[in-house]
Subunit: 290 residues, 2 copies
């Protein structure tokens, strides 16, 4: 019996239905990320690359980039890490460093007109009238009324990075979190997402949890995961740079992949699932092109 | 500015709205797990506890328990680990050990009658007419027709454990996977889930990924994460046993927690999210009672 191998092939086919024919797809399936669109986060146990989203959150990206360029995050710790939820980092609370950073106004939603293009994924998603992709980011949108503009927003899929805040809408500064569990979509539109992990998500998942099950051993702050460095990729020494391409979600090939994923025509599906797609459960592939 | 602390308090409140008053809740909020309902998975980097679900998948639990008791999984490896999807383990493909295990018939769905009780969570979920909890497991159900029985099934939330299989429905044996990313709900009803992680999920998340981004360094099989041991908790030496209680999802207190989570009356929500709940985004708390 070749159960293991067959399982591997069959289940791999679920995720990568289109992988075998990737070479035949049009060139625009892949999109190169520029060095100044990427941030390299070096953790003690591995390297992570974040793609920034200035088109959605320009002021948050500008502030995060400015802080990153001056080494602000180097040596800070992930002080609030809850399995299945978020990994949050930032400077020591109340420190001069913490207080030095100006407040940011919320940038969680865009007004878009009817001409705004995106790749549709799902109507009547549990949390929104419409979901889709824009520039390889998972988005959600209000229902489209005749001629009226509508709101669109980045959604809290696993791997997104967003600014933490106080209770007030416009109270974010420098503390940020990665989503590390089932998408907390209830935070959509009320937190500013400004990027997503495009490489090394497994290292984000391996960050030391700081909250433990009741009755279990407490984790001491000295054991919290530290940020060795946070650098704009264009500031990284050439030999250490990671060059990446990511799937272009505006390509015809990507839309075909979505259709295949929805229809599940693989023999593994002896019974077909509902023809729906959770926008947060569609991997957007990256590849290293060093 | 107390941004970090405030953020911590505010965001913690999101997850644990009801925690402050937990002591006032009725005793039946917590349910003790019996030692023979739990499996202790020891990994090189930490301990994990699985709650079995014989009420949903009796034959799968019987086979998994029998294999576990004879040390079948000790020394086997997680050979197929895809970030954001699954961590799959089992014996070496085609080995005598692999071939020694009988096939299992699918146990992915139950027929339930109108009297079958569960804790409702959400109607018109993207993948099912109804979601809810039964015995602390996330479930989904068909729409209820007048007097007719309906199907119910365990859903692929993060932390569930299910048997892998070949293309044929009734082809599972001993290979299993944990869900480690956004719930792959399209596998609901066509894979047999037979338990869920109730302790140490962060160690499942830290299992070495075996599939890498195209162009990145390949992971050698010698670096795959090994199972040190898999034991029924009742077979573990007394001093090493982990005793756990978990939230009783049939309690009134739990239903109140669901209502609070849906309504988001916390000051953090300056704008309210839609009053809906993703059944896979509701943490079921555990506590150590050693």
């Amino acid at each position: 019996m070749k159960a293991a191998l067959k399982n591997m092939l069959a289940l791999t086919a679920i995720l990568f239905t289109n992988l075998g024919s990737a070479d035949n797809l049009s060139d625009n399936l892949w999109r190169k990320l520029e060095l100044d669109e990427m941030v390299l986060l070096t953790l003690p146990h591995g390297k992570v690359v974040i793609e920034l989203a200035p088109q959605f959150a320009p002021k948050h990206v500008a502030q995060f980039t400015r802080l990153t360029k001056k080494g602000f995050y180097n040596g800070t710790k992930f002080y609030r890490v809850i399995d299945g939820f978020v990994a949050q980092a930032g400077p020591e609370d109340g420190s001069a460093k913490d207080k030095s950073v100006p407040l940011l106004a919320m940038e969680a939603e865009l007004q878009v007109d009817k001409a705004w293009s995106f790749t549709p994924v799902q109507k009547h998603d549990l949390f929104a009238a419409q979901t889709g992709f824009k520039d390889s980011f998972a988005i959600a949108l209000q229902a489209q009324e005749e001629r009226a503009p509508r709101k669109a927003w980045l959604t809290h899929c696993p791997g997104t990075i967003a600014m933490a805040r106080n209770n007030e809408a416009d109270s974010a500064t420098s503390h940020f979190y990665f989503v590390i569990g089932q998408a907390p979509r209830y935070l959509d539109g009320i937190m500013t997402i400004f990027g997503r992990v495009v490489y090394g998500m497994q290292h984000i998942q391996a960050i030391q949890r700081t909250e433990v099950v009741s009755g279990d051993d407490v984790i001491a702050p000295r054991d919290f995961t530290q940020i060795i460095s946070m650098q704009l990729m264009s500031d990284v020494a050439k030999a250490e740079q990671i060059h990446l391409e990511i799937e272009n979600t505006a390509s015809a090939a990507f839309s075909q992949r979505l259709a295949k994923r929805r229809n599940r025509n693989n023999a593994f599906f002896f019974k077909k699932p509902p023809p729906v797609l959770d926008v947060c459960q569609i991997p957007i592939r990256s590849r290293v092109i060093n």
